[in-house]
Structure formats: C-alpha cells, structure tokens
Subunit: 184 residues, 3 copies
Amino acid sequence: MPQTDLSRYNNAWYSPGAPAIKRLLWYFTNVLFFKNGWNPLNGPKVALLRLFGAKVGRGVRIKPNVNIKHPWLLQIGSHCWIGEAVWIDNLARVTLGNSVCLSQGAMLLTGNHDYGKPTFDLTVGAIVLEDGVWIGARAIVGPGVTCRSHAVLTAGSLTSQNLEAYRIYRGNPAVLVKERRMTE
Amino acid sequence: MPQTDLSRYNNAWYSPGAPAIKRLLWYFTNVLFFKNGWNPLNGPKVALLRLFGAKVGRGVRIKPNVNIKHPWLLQIGSHCWIGEAVWIDNLARVTLGNSVCLSQGAMLLTGNHDYGKPTFDLTVGAIVLEDGVWIGARAIVGPGVTCRSHAVLTAGSLTSQNLEAYRIYRGNPAVLVKERRMTE
Amino acid sequence: MPQTDLSRYNNAWYSPGAPAIKRLLWYFTNVLFFKNGWNPLNGPKVALLRLFGAKVGRGVRIKPNVNIKHPWLLQIGSHCWIGEAVWIDNLARVTLGNSVCLSQGAMLLTGNHDYGKPTFDLTVGAIVLEDGVWIGARAIVGPGVTCRSHAVLTAGSLTSQNLEAYRIYRGNPAVLVKERRMTE
C-alpha cells in the first residue's frame, strides 16, 4: 500500500486571501482580543473584524475566547450570536445569515485532507449557515456543508452533510431526529 | 413558517443571582485565576470560589483552565475533583455531592433556548451530580439533568436525560451500557 | 453498594518519570510557549520539547495552543503535524510514527480510573500511533490504544479500542466504516 509522506505535502495552490503582513497582524489580534478572554466588550471585536475585512451585520454579539482564522473570508448577518469559545476555522469562506446562533464551543471546519493520497492534499469547502440556524454547544460543522434555513445541530453533534431547513439533527454523524416546529 | 429574530430576544426575566459589580469582578477573577492556566495552586482557587459565594467542601481539587460562570450558584461537596479545562456554565444552580469527578474538558450546560419560538427564549435548568458521579473527559451534561449516585458518563458522551444510580452511559445521546459494580 | 471516597485516592505508585523541579519548569514552559497562543513559531517549540526529553524527528510542525503533559514521555517521528489546540495528556508514554497528523483539538488520553473501586485507582496506558495515522479534529484516543499504520479516526470520534491498519473509524464509540484506499 502507498504510505503518507507529509514531507511531500504541498498547499502552494491555496490562497488564504490576504497578504502575509495582514495575516500576521490578524494572528496577534486574534490572540489578544478574541481567543484571549480578558475583553468582554463586543463593540471593539466587531470593529476589528470589519477592519480586517469581515462583513458583519447589525446587533452581532461575540463572546470571549472566540477563534477566527481569516476574518476576510467571514460574512455574518444581523443579530447573530457567536458564543464563548466558538472556533471558526475558515480557510474557505464562511457565511452566516441573520439570527444565526453558534453556541459555546461550536466549531466550523472548512479544511480537510485527501487521505487517499500520500501527499495528504489539502481540500477546503465553504460553509453556509442560513437564517435562523442553530449550531449547538461543541457541535462541529464540516467542510462544504450548507445548513438550510432554521436547521438545528444539537450540542456535541457533528455533520459533514447538508442539513435541511427546519429540521433537527443529532449525533456523530448527525441524523435527522425531528422537525423544528415554530410558533409565534 | 415563523422565523427566528434574535433582535427580539429578551432574557430580562432571568436573574443571574448577583449584582453587576460582583459579576464583573468575578469575570476577571475567572479569566486571571481559573481559565488562565498559569496558577497551578489549588488553595487560592478554593478561597476565591468561597469569596464569591460558592459552597465548597473539604479536599476539593481544582485543576488549571477551569471556566466557571457564576460561583454563587455552585455547590461542591467534599473530595471532588474539577479537572483541567472543565467548563461549568452555570446560569442555573449546579450541585455536586461528595467524591464527584469531572474529568478534563467536561462541560456542564445549564442554558438552553426554546427553538420553537422566534424569540429563541432562554431556558435554564439546574444540574445535580450526586455522590460518586463521574463525568468523563470532554463529556457534556445538559440542562436540568440529575445524575444519581455513582452514575458514570463516559468520555466524549452527552446526556440531556437523567442518569440512574450505579449505571454507565455512553454516546451522543448517551445510552445505558452497563451496571457499575463496585467492590472494596 | 460501596461508595467512591476520593479522600482515599492514592496514586503514590505512579511515577511521572521526572523530578519535581523538572515537572514544575515544564508546567510553566507549557503554559507560556505551548498552551498560550502568542507564539506562532515552530522551531523554539521543537527545541523546548527536546530540552525536556521528548524525542522529536525532522520536519515536525507544532501549532499554537497545544497542551502536553510530560514531554519526557513523548516520542514524535518525522514530518508529523500537531494541530492547533491538540491535547497530549501523556501520563504514560505516547509514541507517534512518521507522518502522523493530529488535527485541531484532538486529544490523546492515557489516564483512566478503576470505577469499580471506592479508591478510584488511577490506571494508565500508553498510546501508539503508527506511521500515517490521522486523528481527526476534536477526536479522542483513549488509554492503551494502538492505532495501526494509516488508520483514520474521523473528526469528533472517540476510540478506546485499537484501530486496524488502513481502516477508517467513526462515532463514539468509533466503529469501522470503510477501508482507506491510497493511490499515488
């Protein structure tokens, strides 16, 4: 059987979407103001995200200890919540609609590797979370996934498949458990 | 279908159980002495918890990088272990009996949202872990759950249901796997 | 039924493999240069690991926020990747072959407790990850596990059993899902 040889790994094709100096500045901004929990204030974090190229709507709440890879690949609608210790590992574009809730410890993973190749090639896939989606605490959304309007991924669950609108999914891998019925 | 509108979210009914100044002081105490790992000493952490209103028994061990939301809603019996990077997200009361072990990375979640309402209303539920309960590494206990005496939730598992005494549960959602037989 | 009494816990039999002063120095080195994310540089981390007794091959990449318990019990082959926020909780020896990938947030757990004993005795088990193994993001490998050559544990999964060579496992507990076919 062929064997993995990570010395042959080559992700030169991948463009992170920003020059090295901007990535370096963001690295330390992320460490000091996002990943680090000393700053409980929301406003400066939203301002910093926009400064680094993120599109952020109105009324967005960003809790402490959030980890964001590339803000210039991030779009957040209005009235979204980014919970404590959320990890947006966006090597590819991540797009949140309006009123999306990422609960504490949720993780959005956009990178993967081709485990069939000895060179373990990097692959990336954008994530789209439409309006009203709720990603539960410590749940994980995999690369290339679209969660349709008001889908729910319960706490601790993982999906690498698209989620249908107004449906609730649970487990690893997450399976459909029921409809999300909403009433005024 | 109705849609979530987080701009209409209103948790004014919720009382965190302490005035704003106390919450602010705890926020930074938590960041500096608990979440931050530089302090390996146990004694000062127990003293700080008590100062902020937690009831803590004798012989309690608190490891580094622990995250506690509201110490005044926390009661810990004697000889409990709070493992490294444990997260006690206690919007509601959390009560630990004696000789309870929360292994590294375990999470106690007391908050939830009514996903059937466009206002995504906050709901909270107290957690009770009776004597001898063991919550495994990175396992998650949901809101309102009582784990009866000596129940075990294995590593990486999640429960949103009560656990019976002297029983072992695994998976997400956790299911009963076997009895916990104990001998001297 | 007997009851757990953690005041009777006694791990005096366990030897961490290094004198107290070395463990203390490592504790703060780990906090300042590994767990803390401010240092993006790889070279100093590899040098520090070796200084504290780890065997580290060529071309190893160590990302930020990594947590390592006892470097003197750690052996890493060449061209391995230790991803962001990986947690190597090595109370016992952890051995990685060549071109092993631990993705972000993966956890290697070597400690356990005998839950059948009121004294909750510590048990430890070495972990071996052979060449080409891939432990996915936030996956957990339990004590005593050997993952044979090129086994894959998918993101968010947990295994407390050995994994066979060139096989892919998923879930908690992880089950075999398919073969890992590799082609040049």
